[in-house]
Symmetry: C3
Subunit: 373 residues, 3 copies
C-alpha cells in the first residue's frame, strides 16, 4: 500500500506486517422484499503477512465478522505459505482464493459495488490446496488443485465436503497504457464429488448481505457426480471511465437425474467525477487513490456506477429461481483507505415458481462505511 505497519526480526530474516479491514453496512428494504432493515458488520479482517529466508512468504487473514458460518472455512480466509524461489513462478500451499473470476479475485476493498455481481455465487471462493502462479507483462496464468467443498461464497453456511477440484485461469491485456486498458480472461473448473457427500447448493442474496436473506436458492441438489464451470471476463478502462462484464456457467452431472446447467452474468460501467482512473495489476483491479484526498484540501474521489446483474438457477427439476437486478452506485473515497458507498438496488424480477418470492420486485438502499490499513 506504500504505507505499511511492518516489523522485522533483529537479523532481518523475518518480517511481519499487520493489516485490517472494516466494512459496516446498513440496509433498508422496500416492503416487497421479505427482509427487515438491518445493520451489519460485513467484514472485519485482520491479517498478518510477511517474508522469511528471502524465498518464503506467508499470509493469514481472518474474518472476525463471520467466524462460525462454516466449519470448512471457520472465518479463516487466507492461510498459506508461498515459495518464491523458482524462476518460473511461485508455489502456494494452504488456503487461498481459487483462480476463478475477475471480481472474485479483486479485493472486496476495491469492488465497485457493495457486493459482487450475481454470477459470483458460482465462484468456488477459497479452498485448501496447492497452486502455481506465473505472469508476464501482458498476461497471467494460475492453476491449482483444491480439496474442500465447492460452494458459492454466499452459501457457506453449509459444510459440504465435495471432493477435489482443478481450477485454472488465464488473463491477458492486449491494450495496456497508463490510463487505458483492455482485460480479457477465462477460467475453468472441474470438480469431482466425493462418494460420501455428493450434494451441492447454490444461492444468492439480492446483492446486499446485511439481512442474510437469499432470494434464489436451489436447496440441496443430490447425487452430483461431477461439475464443470467456466467463466469469461472482459474489462476496459479509458481514463475515468470503465466498463466490466463477466459470464459464468456451471454444469452438474447427476447420477440418476438429468444434467443441470446454471449461469449468471453482469455488466457495469463506472465513471470518476473527479478524474481518477481504476488501477489494474496482475490480472485484477487495484486500490483507488484519490487525486485530492480530504484533509489535503481536496474532496476525495467520487465515482458513479451502474450495473445490470442476473443469475438463473432454474433448470430441469430444480427451481432455484432467476434473479435480475439493476444497481446504481455512488462511492466517495475520502482518502486511499476510507470509503463511503451507497447502492440503490432495484430487484427487477424474481422468477422462482413455487416460492413465496416468485414475481416480486422492489427496492433496496444499502450504505457502507469502509476503511482498511
Amino acid at each position: 500500500n506504500g504505507r505499511s505497519l511492518k516489523f522485522e526480526s533483529n537479523d532481518g530474516e523475518f518480517s511481519a506486517q499487520i493489516g485490517g479491514r472494516f466494512q459496516a453496512d446498513a440496509a433498508f428494504y422496500g416492503s416487497d422484499i421479505p427482509s427487515g432493515d438491518a445493520t451489519d458488520i460485513r467484514r472485519l479482517f485482520l491479517d498478518l503477512s510477511g517474508q522469511f529466508y528471502q524465498d518464503w512468504g506467508y499470509r493469514f487473514q481472518y474474518d472476525f465478522a463471520r467466524p462460525g458460518e462454516s466449519s470448512s472455512s471457520r472465518g479463516i480466509r487466507d492461510a498459506y505459505l508461498k515459495y518464491n524461489g523458482l524462476e518460473q513462478g511461485s508455489i502456494t500451499v494452504g488456503q487461498f482464493k481459487t483462480p476463478f473470476g475477475l471480481e472474485h479475485l479483486t479485493s472486496s476493498l476495491n469492488s465497485t459495488f457493495l457486493e459482487r455481481g450475481l454470477n459470483h455465487l458460482f465462484s468456488p471462493d477459497r479452498r485448501l490446496g496447492v497452486g502455481f502462479d506465473t505472469y508476464s507483462e501482458n498476461w497471467t496464468a494460475s492453476i491449482g488443485a483444491f480439496g474442500g467443498p465447492v460452494e458459492s461464497e454466499t452459501s457457506s453456511g453449509q459444510d459440504q465436503d465435495e471432493g477435489w477440484n482443478l481450477i485454472g485461469r488465464i488473463t491477458t491485456t492486449p491494450i495496456k497504457t497508463d490510463k487505458s486498458l483492455i482485460h480479457l480472461g477465462v477460467a475453468v473448473r472441474q470438480n469431482w464429488a466425493q462418494d460420501s457427500d455428493k450434494s451441492q447448493r447454490y444461492r444468492a442474496s439480492p446483492e446486499v448481505e446485511a439481512d442474510g436473506n437469499r432470494l434464489i436458492d436451489t436447496g440441496l441438489i443430490n447425487q452430483v457426480d461431477e461439475q464443470q464451470a467456466y467463466g469469461l471476463e472482459f474489462a476496459s478502462v479509458v481514463g475515468p471511465f470503465s466498463v466490466q462484464a463477466e459470464y459464468t456457467q456451471t454444469q452438474l452431472q447427476r447420477s440418476c437425474s438429468p444434467d443441470l446447467k446454471f449461469d449468471g452474468w453482469y455488466v457495469f460501467t463506472s465513471y470518476f467525477l473527479t478524474g481518477e482512473s481504476r488501477p489494474y495489476k496482475k490480472g485484477v483491479f487495484d486500490r483507488i487513490k484519490p487525486l485530492h484526498a480530504v484533509g489535503n484540501g481536496g474532496i476525495g474521489a467520487w465515482e458513479l456506477a451502474a450495473r445490470y446483474s442476473t443469475a438463473d438457477l432454474n433448470d430441469a427439476d430444480i427451481y432455484g429461481g432467476e434473479l435480475d437486478n439493476a444497481t446504481l452506485g455512488l462511492n466517495w473515497y475520502t482518502t486511499d483507505n476510507v470509503r463511503f458507498s451507497a447502492n440503490y438496488i432495484r430487484v427487477l424480477d424474481v422468477n422462482r415458481p413455487g416460492s413465496d418470492v416468485d414475481g416480486i420486485d422492489g427496492d433496496i438502499l444499502a450504505l457502507r462505511a469502509q476503511f482498511d490499513f
Copy 2:
C-alpha cells in the same frame, strides 16, 4: 496508558497499537444457589487501535472468550472509525459503546467490583451506529443513532433484531479538584422496534458470570413496539474515599398488553487503604495506579468496597423476578496493570413468583485475576 506497544509506518501517516486484556474467574456458590462451582475466562480481549492521516482514528477490540454468544456481536466489541477533524467534537461510525450509564462506559478493567451493578442489565451495550461526542472541562455530551438489538449485556445469548435507537448522555462535574470530585450524569434512550421482531428479554446473573446462570429473567416479552429508558448517575470522590450510585428505569409499550416498567439501582462505597484516589476522565472512571507498586518495594494498592444492588423485573403479567444483592469487595492492584480481586456476594432475596429460585438467598465467593497491556 503511558506505556504503549505502538508501531508506525515509515511515512508516519499510520500508527497501530496492540493491547490485550485478560480476566480469569473462579466462583464458589453456596448450596442454595442453583449453580455449580466454576472457573471461567471472563474476558480475553485483543485490541488494535491507531491513527491515520492526522484526523482519523480507529479501534478494533475482539473478545476471544465470548466468540459465539450472539450472532449480533460475534465477539466483536469495538470496530469503529472516528473522525476528529471537526472543531466541535468527533464523529464515530461502526460498533462502539452506546452512551448510557457510568459503569457501562467505565472500562471493565476499572470496575470496582467483578461485575457491574444489577441495573446494568438495562444498558444497551455496544451497537452499530453513528455517534457524536463533545466535551469541555466540566461536562461531556454524547448522542448516537444505533441499529441492532437492544439487549442487556448479560442476555446476549439471543439474537434479537430490534430496530433503531436514539441514545444520548450528558455529564457534568460541578466540583473537580485534584483528588475530589462530584459527578452527575443523565442518559436517555428511545427504541423503536422493527415489525419483523418485537420481542425483548431482560435478565441477569447474580453479579458473577462464571456459571452463566441467571437468577432473574423476563423470558421473551412479545409485541414490544417502543421502549424508553433513562439513567441517573452520581459519584463523588474525596481522596481515598468514593461513593457512586446509578438508577435505571425502562418502559416497554406493548401492542395488546399493558405497558411495563422495570428498574434497578446500586450504590457503593470504596476506600483505598493505601491512599490512592479513583481517577476520573471525560465522564468515566480511569485506571488505578498504585502509589507503591509491588516490585518497587511497595505492596501495591489495596481497596475495600461495599455495594447494595437491586433490579426488579416484575410488572403486570411479567414475573422476571426481583433480585437484591449485597457485596463486599477487596481489590489488590500489584501494579497498574495487574489486579487480584475477591468479591463476597450475599444474595439477599429473589422475589420471582412461580420460579424455582423464588425466595432463595445464599452466598457466592468469586475470585478474579486480571491483567492488561
Copy 3:
C-alpha cells in the same frame, strides 16, 4: 527461536512478541476406514507473549482453526500471567498446559508424527488454574490445581464440567550430554467430579484428525466420582537416533457401578538421515534445526520414524474399543520453521464389540505442510 518479531514500549517496561503456527493436512483413507478423504487446517495459531515490569510474563495463544469446538476452550489455548519474581520457581495463573505427559508438553511443532500417540487421549490438555514450576540442570518439577473439564484433547467437542484437578509431573535426565540423553518422567493426576456433572468421555481418532472420525469412543460414562491417572515417560537420544515411549493409565471410580481402568501406550524410534539430533530442553523436546537448510545450498533435514501405538477403552460394561496402530513417518525440515511430513498409518485392529468398526483394519496416508514464525 533466535529470531523474534518483538516490539517494546518506549520505556522498555513492556514487550510483546507475535508468533504464528500453521498446519494444513490432507488425508486419504483406505476403503475399510469409515472416513472420506479430506483436507483440513489442523492448526492456525496466533500468539502474543511478552514481559513487563521485569518479573511478569504473559502469553495468549488462540487457535483460529478450532474456535467453536468446545465452550470450555473456545479456541483459547494459552491465556496466562506468570510471575517469575521468586527464587524458587515461577507461578502461573490462567489457562495453560497441565503438567502431564512428554508428548503432550512437547509442542505440536516438534512432534515426530502428525498426531501424538493414542495414549494422548488421556491427557487433560489445557485447563484454567494455578501452577508452580521449578527446574534445575538435571530435573524439572511442576504441580498445579485446575478447574474445568477433564477431557482428552480429541473429545473437546463436549463441554463437560468436571470439578477440580491436582496434577503434577517430575522429570529427570540421568544422562545428558551434547548429543545424547536419557529422559525419565512420571506424572499423576487426581480428579474430583462436581455434583452437577459426573459424566466423562474418552475417545480417539486413528492418529489423523482431518476427518474427525473417532474409531474408539466410550460414549458418556455416568456417575464418575473420582479419577486417578498416572503416566510414565522414557526417551533416549544417541546422535541422530532416538527412541521414546509413554504409558498412561486412568482409573474411574463410579458411584453405583464397578470401577474402570483404561490405558494406552506408544513406542517410537526416529533417525535423522542428515545427521541432526533431537534437541531437548527442560523436560520436553525442542525445535529441529537442519544442519544445511534449503536455500543455503542444503537439502534440509530428513527424518525417518516408526511407531507402534495402542489404547484400550474396554473395561467392565464399557466397550469403547481397543485400537492398535503402526505408523511410518517421513519428515522434511526445509528450514527451522518449515516442515513437510508424510505418515503412513496401518490400523492393525479395532476391537470394539457391538460397533460397526469392530474388527476392521486398513490404511491411511496423511500429509502435512507446516510452518511457524
